[in-house]
């Protein structure tokens, strides 16, 4: 996961939109292309890092294209940038392509849907620390909830390329089938072979699906699906690492599972951010000091968004 290219590690760049694909419902996948210094910086982007997009000047989609439940939000103006992690980073000649999985939920992401190929958007990044290398582990287990799938798709691709002998299995959950941020499940035969999701299958990574209502895959929380799978497996915990991204309640559960099983676990946290690079101090995450009861606040944008699960003091 290293890159020797020169140029800045991060900065503020204009990116060209090359795609903005509607996946289904409120889910989209935005493709951005970087050149020059921007390409040099984003060539070094690691899974779990993120970028801040300035969407304030992006026009809204036509009123009749705005879902009824977003009409009120569409009336709101925005001031601050919005943080997004990457679901893919790839190189194409002298350009770097970065893809972002997003959900149109409010005034900023609604504007994002109207970005079309050829348009330009201001991007600050890549920011944050990203997932750490699995080093000498033999198995990586990737567990996501909802939109948390984005950075884990990127991680799956990177791990598969950098550690070809590593066993990688992804678990993805959502409330229901319609709230899964994926294009479609794979065919029946692929599913029986353990490749439930195209996004992971295309990089050779097995995946399992869970929905709270049972409308697709395992019926129940992805954490329960994962726990049952783990109970049936014979993995050596010292050779295994968990990577997780999703709602905080899910991450707290993953941290507990990892603690109980004594498996190393890295989790990607989310916080409201004003800047994304340590100026505003808004994105505080309460962390334990050396495993003691003492806590300190760390910044999600600079110290995170990825933390060792043993470090975070969840308050749920």
């Amino acid at each position: 996961m290293t890159n020797e290219s020169s140029g800045p590690d991060k900065g503020m760049f204009d990116a060209a939109v090359f795609a903005n694909k509607h996946i289904k419902g409120k889910f989209y996948r935005l493709g951005l292309e970087f050149y020059g210094d921007g390409a040099a910086a984003f060539a070094k982007a690691r899974p779990g890092q993120f970028a801040e997009l300035d969407l304030a000047g992006i026009p809204l989609p036509p009123t009749d294209a705005i879902a009824e439940d977003l009409r009120d939000a569409s009336e709101r103006k925005i001031l601050l940038r919005r943080p997004f992690s990457f679901c893919d980073v790839s190189s194409r000649k002298d350009k770097i392509r970065v893809e972002i999985l997003y959900c149109a939920l409010g005034p900023a992401t609604l504007r994002m849907t109207s970005l079309s190929p050829g348009k330009s958007v201001s991007v600050i990044g890549p920011l944050g620390n990203g997932f750490q290398s699995p080093a000498d582990k033999k198995t990586a287990l990737l567990v996501s909830g909802g939109m948390g799938a984005g950075p884990l798709i990127h991680l799956a691709k990177t791990l598969a390329a950098d550690y070809p002998k590593m066993g990688i299995i992804a678990f993805a959950g959502a409330k229901s089938k319609t709230e899964l941020p994926f294009e479609r499940p794979t065919d029946e035969i692929s599913q029986q072979l353990g490749f439930a999701l195209h996004e992971f299958a295309r990089v050779g990574v097995e995946s399992q699906l869970a929905t709270d209502d049972g409308s697709a895959g395992y019926e129940g929380f992805v954490t329960d699906c994962f726990t049952k799978w783990l109970g049936r497996s014979s993995l050596a915990v010292k050779d295994t690492i968990i990577y997780s991204c999703g709602p905080e309640v899910m991450l707290a559960r993953m941290a507990k599972i990892a603690e109980d099983k004594k498996i190393d676990c890295q989790i990607s946290m989310e916080r409201m951010m004003a800047c994304g690079f340590g100026l505003c101090q808004s994105c505080a995450v309460k962390c334990k000091v050396n495993g003691s009861s003492e806590t300190i606040y760390k910044l999600c944008c600079k110290d995170g968004p990825v933390f060792d699960s043993r470090e975070v003091a969840f308050e749920l």
């Binding site: 001031l79 601050l80 409201m272 100026l279 101090q281 808004s282």
Partner: protein, 342 residues
């Protein structure tokens, strides 16, 4: 053309290359912003608040966005004086721009202790007393609303500051800001900065609870700019002008025209805050824009602009270039490619 424009300003005993600062609390300790802009191009840099002991800050959520502003209740989170000296001061010492340390505390003694300890540091040009933070239970705004306390804390800090410039940051959350400004100046403040944020609230209508864990926060950004311009003009006319006290104007500045408004209102310099979060290089663009404004309005020295509200324009703006068709280039009509449209 802009090379001949003098936008250097005298600020207390300091001579600044230009009138643009970063505002405290929005630019970290300098190292964070240095990835995105050349800090040495600024007129001045103001660190985030430093307290005697480290402060964890408030429980999150700490920020909320409004239509044209940002609410924050960070709670003066900072690494504390000792860590600031050990970890940040060596980096700050490498800067060539004048650096002000914003100082906060829960007691007057705490303010004085921080100022006294840093007064000997060559890397620091001055102090900004934060007596206007609305987001802490002790200190902050409770000092800044009482003229007697303002005088007391300013006087004590002035003695501790030695030969450094002492600036006092004022809150708009008072009945008459000029009363507070006068108290600070008469107690020895070399400069005033205004305004800090307004106390405000955002409510989540689903939970019917405040969005911020602190319930209230300070609102900043474009929404407060017209009020800040008014208050700068008021303090300039009622307190600062006759005493020759420079004002650092701030509140919602994100463009050169915003900055020029504050200067016309009476500010000798301006500070950019919330806009740094969105465009961390905006201060440098604002400096360039101020030069262009001066060039376009025949102002060769920016001092002529400070406090010029209502003053007769002796040197009218350069006439706009005619619209289409463009005149052919000649010795007397430089070809800029401009259509003359603002």
């Amino acid at each position: 053309m802009t090379e001949t424009i003098d936008i250097s300003v005298e600020f207390g005993k300091l001579k600044l290359a230009n009138p643009v600062f970063t505002a405290s609390g929005t630019c970290g300790y300098a190292d964070e912003l240095a990835d995105f802009t050349n800090i040495n191009l600024l007129g001045g840099f103001i660190t985030k608040s430093i307290t005697a002991k480290p402060r964890q800050g408030n429980v999150p959520p700490r920020v909320a966005e409004t239509d044209s502003g940002m609410l924050n209740a960070i709670g003066l989170a900072n690494i504390g004086l000792d860590a600031f000296i050990q970890e940040k001061l060596p980096l700050i010492a490498k800067l060539t721009v004048p650096v002000f340390v914003n100082v906060a505390g829960e007691t007057i003694d705490e303010y004085v202790a921080v100022v006294q300890r840093l007064a000997a540091e060559q890397a620091i040009a001055g102090f900004e007393l934060n007596i206007s933070c609305p987001n802490v239970a002790k200190g902050g705004l409770s000092f800044g609303t009482d003229p007697a306390l303002v005088a007391e804390i300013t006087s004590a800090a002035k003695k501790a500051a030695g030969d450094k410039v002492l600036m006092v940051k004022l809150s708009p959350c008072v009945t008459d800001i000029s009363v507070i400004a006068r108290a600070a100046v008469e107690a020895g403040a070399d400069a005033l900065s205004l305004i800090n944020t307004f106390t405000a609230m955002v409510i989540d209508i689903e939970t019917r609870k405040p969005v911020l864990a602190n319930k209230t926060g300070g609102i900043s950004g474009p929404v407060i700019k017209p009020i800040a311009v008014y208050l700068v003009n008021k303090v300039y006319n009622e307190v600062a002008k006759e005493r020759g006290i420079p004002i650092l104007g701030l509140g919602g500045i994100r463009t050169a025209s915003d900055a020029v408004e504050f200067i016309i209102a009476g500010a000798s310099a301006v500070a950019v805050g919330t806009a740094n979060f969105v465009e961390p290089n905006c201060t440098v663009k604002i400096i360039d824009g101020i030069k262009k404004y001066c060039a376009g309005h025949n102002i060769t020295n920016i001092k002529d602009l400070t406090g010029s509200l209502g003053r007769e324009i002796i040197n009218p703006p350069s006439p706009p270039l005619p619209a289409q068709p463009s005149p052919p280039p000649s010795d007397s009509t430089p070809s800029t490619g401009s259509t003359g449209t603002p």
